[in-house]
């Protein structure tokens, strides 16, 4: 699957439709694939501090929407969840998207941080099944990509 530059949802949807068409002889996406509730996994992913790293977070409770962003660039700063005033753990905080690094081989000399933006897309008449998108910001190995997708799937299955 090709890389889409930028975080453009329309572009991603069009590219995905093209991707699905190209596989239509082999795969019926509606029949052969089971959707998972990725959005429901957001609180668990945020709570998984031993395998994720975050420098940006935006969430709402029933009263207030709050956004936090580390001022310094990602590789020169610390996790936003360690900030004194950040306290957006738990199911009371909902997010339209989750901006998170996945730490692979954490604590070893070969640690990699894979940056993803998980975004929930509002369903509409054309797409009645709730959809979400995983944006990966860099070219990464197939193994690391499989790891990240696998972890997101596991979190989503656990939350469903």
């Amino acid at each position: 699957m090709g890389k889409i530059n930028g975080d453009d949802i329309t572009q991603a949807e069009e590219a995905f439709d093209g991707f699905a068409d190209s596989l239509s002889a082999l795969v019926d996406f509606e029949k052969h694939l089971a959707p998972i509730a990725m959005r429901m996994s957001f609180p668990a992913i945020v709570a998984a501090r031993d395998e994720t790293f975050m420098t940006v977070d935006s969430a709402s409770d029933a009263t207030v929407r709050r956004a936090y962003a580390r001022i310094r660039e990602d590789k020169k700063t610390t996790d936003i969840r360690a900030y004194t005033h950040w306290n957006m753990d738990g199911k009371n905080y909902s997010r339209e998207s989750l901006n998170v690094y996945w730490m692979i081989d954490h604590g070893t000399g070969d640690e990699r941080r894979i940056h993803t933006i998980l975004r929930w897309l509002v369903e509409d008449e054309a797409h009645p099944t709730p959809r979400a998108r995983v944006y990966v910001s860099a070219h990464i190995s197939e193994g690391d990509l499989a790891h990240v997708v696998g972890r997101i799937r596991r979190f989503a299955q656990s939350a469903s």
């Binding site: 962003a69 660039e73 933006i117 910001s137």
Partner: protein, 130 residues
């Protein structure tokens, strides 16, 4: 104990003892909670109750004393944090895929900020026993 660079600052500007100590207290407070914090003139100005230009001049003097170093950053218009930062403006590319929001950002001088960060010497003086 004084933070690195401040004794020299006080000796050069003995008549400015009070504001220099106010700035030192503000920097100590910021670094005590986050050693990698961005030290910005407007934020320190508010914390120390000093003018922005005054703080800026002290920070430049502290940079000459190797207590802080200047950084430039491209701020992400969507998240508010730095997309990328560098020591010099010339190191910033014209177009980047922002690691904060995933969108493509083209160079916009209105999104460039300058701030200072503590050097290892300043951090060592922060940890030194009083």
């Amino acid at each position: 104990m004084s933070l690195a660079g401040f004794d020299a600052l006080l000796s050069r500007h003995p008549e400015q003892g009070a504001p220099i100590r106010q700035l030192q207290a503000a920097i100590r407070s910021v670094l005590s909670s986050d050693e990698s914090a961005a030290l910005s003139d407007d934020h320190l100005s508010q914390m120390a109750g000093l003018g922005v230009n005054e703080v800026r001049e002290w920070l430049v003097e502290l940079m000459r004393a190797h207590a802080v170093e200047s950084h430039v950053a491209r701020m992400c218009p969507n998240t508010g944090g730095a997309s990328v930062e560098a020591r010099h403006l010339s190191e910033l590319q014209n177009e980047i895929e922002c690691p904060r929001c995933g969108q493509i950002h083209r160079y916009d001088s209105r999104r460039i900020v300058v701030f200072f960060v503590a050097t290892p010497g300043l951090l060592a003086s922060l940890h030194a026993k009083k």
